[in-house]
């Protein structure tokens, strides 16, 4: 048996799964939104959502934006392999990848978790309007108006 050297690809990147389980948003809608703001990240649309690969900071920013679409129904998870890796891709294995069954089981419970997240949001206290810093000339006579009064007095 010959031992080959292993040269990794996509070094320094992270891959995230984005699962969408929403009655209003489809993976396609989310993918289009992701393409709009992805700035060079690799975005792959799947039946359950997306896979996003790229620099950790950029991926984090994109995830924050995507969560805004439907926060209670979008779930994100790390992935060890990049998308399409021949060691994991079902195109090469001829069947579901090993991690699929775990996702399938948890996806069945997402509706309960989403309900919990929605209820949690409802319980949030209403934000109190913040007073902004008072401007220096706030409530004082505007300069233009003062000049106008003086010129009227002189006339």
């Amino acid at each position: 048996m010959t031992i080959k050297e292993y040269i990794p690809t996509y070094v320094g990147t992270v891959t995230k799964y984005v699962f969408i389980d929403s009655p209003n948003i489809t993976p396609q809608t989310l993918a289009i939104r992701a393409y709009e703001i992805s700035e060079g990240l690799m975005v792959k649309e799947t039946c359950f959502g997306l896979q996003i690969t790229g620099e950790p900071e950029q991926v984090k920013k994109l995830i924050v934006e995507l969560r805004k679409v439907d926060s209670a129904h979008i779930f994100v998870k790390d992935r060890g392999f990049p998308p399409g890796d021949p060691r994991r891709c079902r195109a090469n294995l001829g069947g579901a990848r090993p991690g699929y069954y775990g996702h399938e089981f948890e996806c069945g419970l997402l509706k309960f978790v989403s309900h919990g997240l929605e209820e949690l949001d409802k319980k949030k206290p209403k934000p109190v309007p913040q007073m902004s810093k008072k401007k220096l000339d706030q409530g004082k006579l505007p300069l233009n108006r003062l000049i106008e009064i003086i010129s009227n007095e002189e006339a």
Binding site: K4, E5, P8, F81, Y101, L109, F112, H115
Partner: protein, 151 residues
């Protein structure tokens, strides 16, 4: 931001909850990614080499199967590194094509041995009310961790 070890280590829900509320989830994907992105000898599919069961000797005895020791070489350092842990107790998915029941027992034993580490024991929700309790428990637990690992 605290480092939170999650069990099952492949859990989508736990991984999401931890990151949603601003902490770092330590799970299988993090360890596997490190292996996949490190140059070494070709050893598909998970790049586990004969060196890994040797590293696992720190956590399990030599007569323990090498599958357990190999897995512990991934999870052991993460358990040591973790500031907190969340365990879902009724997680059948952690034992199957990619899981190992003996490793799971050892992981949970190691987590419970760290008495000083905050630990949350929960179960998967099966109703909407349990869903609310599930999310609230995790959020309250994570809120209590804030600042532990801040720089």
């Amino acid at each position: 931001m605290a480092k939170v070890f999650i069990f099952p280590t492949t859990s989508l829900v736990l991984s999401d909850m931890v990151e949603r509320w601003g902490h770092e989830a330590l799970g299988a994907a993090v360890g596997i990614r490190e292996k996949i992105q490190t140059p070494s000898l070709e050893s598909p599919p998970l790049q586990m080499t004969p060196e890994d069961p040797k590293k696992g000797l720190k956590y399990a005895a030599v007569e323990v199967p090498c599958g357990v020791r190999g897995r512990m070489s991934l999870y052991g350092p993460m358990i040591e590194e973790a500031d907190a842990a969340i365990i879902i107790n009724d997680s059948d998915l952690s034992f199957g094509c990619m899981g190992c029941a003996r490793t799971n027992e050892l992981v949970m034993f190691m987590l419970r041995q760290r008495k000083e580490m905050p630990l949350l024991d929960i179960k998967y929700p099966e109703t909407e009310d349990e869903g609310i309790a599930f999310v609230t428990q995790i959020k309250d637990f994570l809120a209590g961790l804030e600042g532990e690992n801040d720089e």
